[in-house]
Amino acid sequence: MAFYIPYIAVVALILIGLYAVVFKRNLIKIVIGITFIECGVNLFLITLGYRENSTAPIYTSSPGGIMSLPVPQALTLTSIVIGVAVLALMLSLVVHIYRHYKTLDARKIIGGDEE
């Protein structure tokens, strides 16, 4: 059972993130929701990389037994780096939206015809 707890956390994080994106009106909260989804996916990747009783894949003095491939960690790291860039871009766009609309309510930021 304990083995499944990370997966439950993954599903919970993704659902919480989706809930925030779909039902929250504040743009900052929507951004936070996306970060939640990202955390869930990253946690999922990390969880997949776990092998019981395995060692780090340093070949020169291996004690033997199974090694766990460090690929998921590399993937997660890449995903985090991309996440930082996306987060920075989203927040700076939110700053600009606030400058134009003087509000962060998603229902009021709907575009429309050019003035």
Binding site: T60, S61, L77, V81, V84, A88, L91, S92, V95, Y98, R99
Partner: protein, 164 residues
């Protein structure tokens, strides 16, 4: 953003070199210990962000310009791609491959072979990898510091706009 109290400024001055050195250590030892260009770069950039918070964006904008940081950033990115291109260096023969580690075991820079068995880590190994780590580190330092700096100065501008 204006600066904070004198206590904060002093303590930032004390802590800054240690954080900086730690970050640079992570960058340079990326091929030996956990870490690498991004992680170390993020640590160094957080040191810079600490300075930003303590001394204020107005003070720091006098010392350093956005264009300088963006040049630094593109130099980091260019050198990364150039190191990747170095793999093609064996011209006109199909042994060269993009991203090939040409410096490994070559006895040039970072070119020593790793000795077999458990031993103390030798920093002078792994060929192109440490060089790429340094390039990535440079880019990450410049980029994250630039993001934080621009956002800090943007909030400054918004506040000024509201005051008008």
């Amino acid at each position: 953003m204006s600066g904070m109290s004198k206590i904060v400024k002093t303590m930032t001055g004390v802590a800054f070199p240690f954080v900086m050195i730690y970050g640079l250590y992570i960058i340079v030892h990326g091929h030996l210990t956990p870490g690498g260009g991004f992680q170390g770069g993020a640590v160094v950039a957080s040191a810079c962000a600490m300075i930003l918070v303590a001394f204020g964006s107005v003070w720091i904008m006098k010392k350093i310009k956005e264009s300088q940081l963006s040049i630094l950033e593109s130099i980091g990115a260019i050198s990364f791609v150039v190191f990747a291109f170095l793999g093609l260096i064996t011209l006109f023969d199909n042994n060269g491959i993009f991203f090939k580690n040409v410096f490994a075991n070559s006895h040039y820079i970072f070119g020593q072979s790793v000795s077999y068995g458990s031993s103390a880590a030798n920093i002078n190994t792994a060929g192109t990898l440490p060089l790429m780590n340094i390039a990535v580190g440079l880019k990450v330092i410049a980029a994250i510091f630039l993001i934080v700096l621009v956002m800090a100065s943007a909030t400054n501008k918004i506040r000024e706009g509201e005051a008008e």
